[in-house]
C-alpha cells in the first residue's frame, strides 16, 4: 500500500460512467423526495382548533340596527338596514383585537383606525378588516365561513 496515485491507463469506462450518473440522479431524486416528505409531514392534515365555519345563532338573536361582538370568534356581527354582515375584529397589522370606537374601529396595540366598513382610516394597518361570508343554514342559523372573504358590499338578507 502506498499513497502514490494509481496511473490511469485505460480510457474511461462508459458503462461505469453511466451507472455512476444514474446513481447520482437517483440519490438526488431520493433526497428531494425526502425533503418534500419532511415538509409535507410538517403540514398538519387535521387542525384541532375551532372550526373555520360555524353557526352563531338564529337571525332573531341579532335585533335590527344592532352590533354584536363575539369575543370567542373575534367577530363583529351587524344587522344593518339592508341585511346582515360580519367584520373580523382581528387587526390586519399584528393581530390584536380592534375595539368599536366612534363610528368605526380602533386597534389598542398600534393605533390603527378603521371606518365603520373596516376600511383603514389611519395608522400602520396595511389592509382593511376582513369581511366574512355569512349564510343561512337549512335550520335558519347564521353561518360564518372564515375561509371565504367578501367585499364591503356584502349583505345577507333573511
Amino acid at each position: 500500500m502506498t499513497n502514490e496515485p494509481t496511473a490511469t491507463t485505460a480510457p474511461p469506462d462508459r458503462t461505469r460512467r453511466s451507472i455512476f450518473a444514474v446513481g447520482c440522479i437517483a440519490i438526488g431524486a431520493a433526497t428531494a423526495g425526502f425533503l418534500g416528505a419532511t415538509f409535507r409531514f410538517l403540514v398538519p392534515n387535521v387542525l384541532y382548533e375551532p372550526s373555520r365555519r360555524f353557526d352563531i345563532g338564529s337571525p332573531q338573536e341579532f335585533p335590527p340596527g344592532s352590533v354584536t361582538f363575539l369575543p370567542d370568534r373575534r367577530l363583529y356581527v351587524f344587522n344593518g338596514a339592508d341585511g346582515f354582515y360580519a367584520i373580523s375584529s382581528v387587526c390586519t397589522h399584528l393581530g390584536c383585537n380592534v375595539k368599536r370606537g366612534g363610528p368605526g374601529f380602533a386597534c389598542p396595540c398600534h393605533g390603527s383606525q378603521f371606518d365603520e366598513n373596516g376600511q383603514v382610516v389611519h395608522g400602520p394597518a396595511p389592509t382593511s378588516l376582513a369581511w366574512y361570508l355569512l349564510s343561512l343554514s337549512p335550520h335558519t342559523q347564521l353561518v360564518v365561513d372564515l375561509d371565504q372573504q367578501v367585499g364591503p358590499a356584502f349583505r345577507l338578507r333573511t
Binding site: 369575543p71 370567542d72 397589522h93 399584528l94 390584536c96 389598542p108 393605533g111 400602520p124
Partner: protein, 413 residues
C-alpha cells in the same frame, strides 16, 4: 498488600486519566491536549488573549449562559407540560409548589435575556476590533447564525409559560413574520401548526425550544469555538509591548501540531508568533475562565433572588392587553412596524441579516484587525456604530416610551 492495592488503584486512575492531576507545566500542557473537554483550548495562549479589555470575555460569557440555560432548562422540563392550560398550571406549580422551582425559572428567564444581550455585545466587540478579517470571515458568518439561533431560542421559549404576555408577544411576533413576501402566510401556518395559536403551536415551539434549536446551537457553538481555536484570537499577531516581555521565563514552544495535520495549518501559525509572548493555558486561561463562570453564576443567582420572572394571567385569545408588545429584543422592529409593516417586518430585518452575513466578504481591507477602533477602519466602524445606535434607540423607545395604543409615554410619569 498495601502496595498492591495502591498499584491497582493507580491502574484504575490511569485507565481514566492518563496524566492524573498535572503538577508541572509540561503535564498541564499535555492534559490540555489529551482531554476531550479541555482540548478546546490550545496548550499555550498569547498574553494578548488574556487581556480582559480586549474581549471582555463576552464570547465566554455567552457560552457559560448557554450551559446555564441548558441545565436549568432540563430541570424545568421535569415539571413542564406543553399543553395550553396545563402549561400555565405548571408555571404556577414551579412558582408556588416546587422547592426552588421559582429560582430555577428566574435563572432560566434572566439568563435567556442576558444571552441575547451578551451575544449582541459580542458581535459589536468583534466588529469594533475588526476580528472578522481573514482568516476569520467564515467564523463571523457562523456567529451571525448563532445570533439568529439565540433569538429563535428566546422567541420560542417566550410562548411556553402560556400567559397573556407570552400569547400576545407571540401573536405580534408571528404576525410580523407573516409579512414576508410570498411565503409569509405559509411560514406562519407551519410555525403555528394551524391558523391560530393553540395546542399545536405550543407543542411545536416546545420541541423547537427544547430539542431542535439547542442541538443546532450546540453544533454551531462547537464549530465557532473550534475555529477560534484553530485561527487563534485576532490581534495575537500584534507583538506585546517590550515591558510585558518575559523572555526566558517560559521555554520555547514545544507544541506538536502534527495532530492537526488533517486540516490545513491556520495562517496565524504558531511558528510566526513569539514564544516569549505566550503563557500556558493552564493555569492562566483556565483559571480566568473558571473565575468568569463563577462570577456569572453568582450574578445570575443574585438577580434571580431579587427579581421575579414575569407571569401574568393565563393566555386569553379574546382579550388583547394594551399595549401588546413583542419580546424586548424585537421591539426595535415593532417600533418600525408601527410606521410601516412591510419596511419594519420584512425589508429592514432582511437587509440587516444579509448585510451581516456578507460583511466579511464585502469589506475586504486587511488593515486594522486586532485592535479596538483602529483608525484604518474609521468608515466601517462609523457606519456600524451609527446603525447599532439607531437600532438600540428604536428598541429603547419601543420598550420604555410606548404605552397604550402605542402612543408616546414618558417612562418616569
Amino acid at each position: 498488600m498495601r502496595t498492591r492495592a495502591t498499584t491497582w488503584l493507580d491502574g484504575v486512575r490511569r485507565s481514566i486519566s492518563r496524566i492524573g492531576w498535572p503538577r508541572t507545566d509540561k503535564d498541564r500542557a499535555a492534559a490540555m491536549i489529551s482531554s476531550l473537554f479541555l482540548h478546546i483550548h490550545p496548550a499555550r495562549v498569547s498574553r494578548h488573549t488574556l487581556r480582559p479589555t480586549y474581549t471582555f470575555a463576552l464570547g465566554l460569557i455567552a457560552g457559560i449562559l448557554f450551559v446555564v440555560l441548558s441545565v436549568t432548562g432540563l430541570a424545568l422540563m421535569l415539571y413542564y407540560v406543553p399543553y395550553p392550560a396545563e402549561a400555565y398550571r405548571s408555571m404556577k406549580d414551579l412558582q408556588f409548589v416546587v422547592t426552588f422551582g421559582v429560582v430555577l425559572r428566574n435563572i432560566h428567564r434572566w439568563s435567556a435575556h442576558a444571552m441575547v444581550l451578551v451575544v449582541f455585545l459580542h458581535m459589536c466587540r468583534v466588529f469594533w476590533t475588526g476580528s472578522y478579517k481573514p482568516p476569520r470571515e467564515f467564523n463571523w458568518v457562523v456567529g451571525v447564525v448563532l445570533l439568529l439561533l439565540t433569538l429563535g431560542l428566546s422567541f420560542t421559549g417566550y410562548l411556553l409559560p402560556w400567559d397573556q404576555l407570552a400569547f400576545w408577544a407571540i401573536t405580534v411576533g408571528t404576525n410580523i413574520a407573516a409579512y414576508a413576501p410570498f411565503v409569509g402566510d405559509q411560514v406562519k401556518f407551519l410555525l403555528l401548526g394551524g391558523h391560530v395559536i393553540g395546542p399545536m403551536t405550543l407543542l411545536r415551539f416546545y420541541v423547537l425550544h427544547c430539542v431542535m434549536l439547542p442541538l443546532a446551537m450546540l453544533m454551531l457553538i462547537s464549530l465557532h469555538v473550534w475555529r477560534v481555536r484553530k485561527d487563534g484570537l485576532s490581534g495575537a499577531e500584534v507583538p506585546a509591548p517590550a515591558e510585558e516581555e518575559v523572555a526566558g521565563v517560559f521555554p520555547a514552544s514545544t507544541k506538536t501540531y502534527g495532530l492537526m495535520a488533517l486540516s490545513r495549518r491556520p495562517r496565524a501559525s504558531v511558528e510566526s508568533r513569539d514564544p516569549n509572548d505566550e503563557v500556558f493555558a493552564w493555569p492562566h486561561l483556565l483559571y480566568r475562565e473558571l473565575l468568569v463562570a463563577l462570577s456569572v453564576i453568582v450574578v445570575l443567582h443574585v438577580i434571580s433572588l431579587v427579581f421575579m420572572a414575569p407571569l401574568e394571567e393565563m393566555a386569553d385569545p379574546t382579550r388583547t392587553p394594551n399595549p401588546a408588545k413583542a419580546p424586548w429584543y424585537f421591539l426595535g422592529l415593532q417600533e418600525l412596524v408601527h410606521y410601516s409593516a412591510r419596511i419594519g417586518g420584512v425589508i429592514v430585518p432582511t437587509v440587516l441579516v444579509v448585510a451581516l452575513l456578507v460583511l466579511p466578504y464585502v469589506d475586504r481591507g486587511k488593515a486594522g484587525s486586532g485592535r479596538w477602533f483602529a483608525p484604518e477602519r474609521r468608515v466601517a466602524n462609523s457606519v456600524f456604530t451609527a446603525l447599532t445606535l439607531i437600532f438600540v434607540m428604536l428598541t429603547v423607545i419601543g420598550t420604555l416610551f410606548r404605552g397604550p395604543n402605542w402612543a408616546w409615554v414618558w417612562p418616569w410619569r
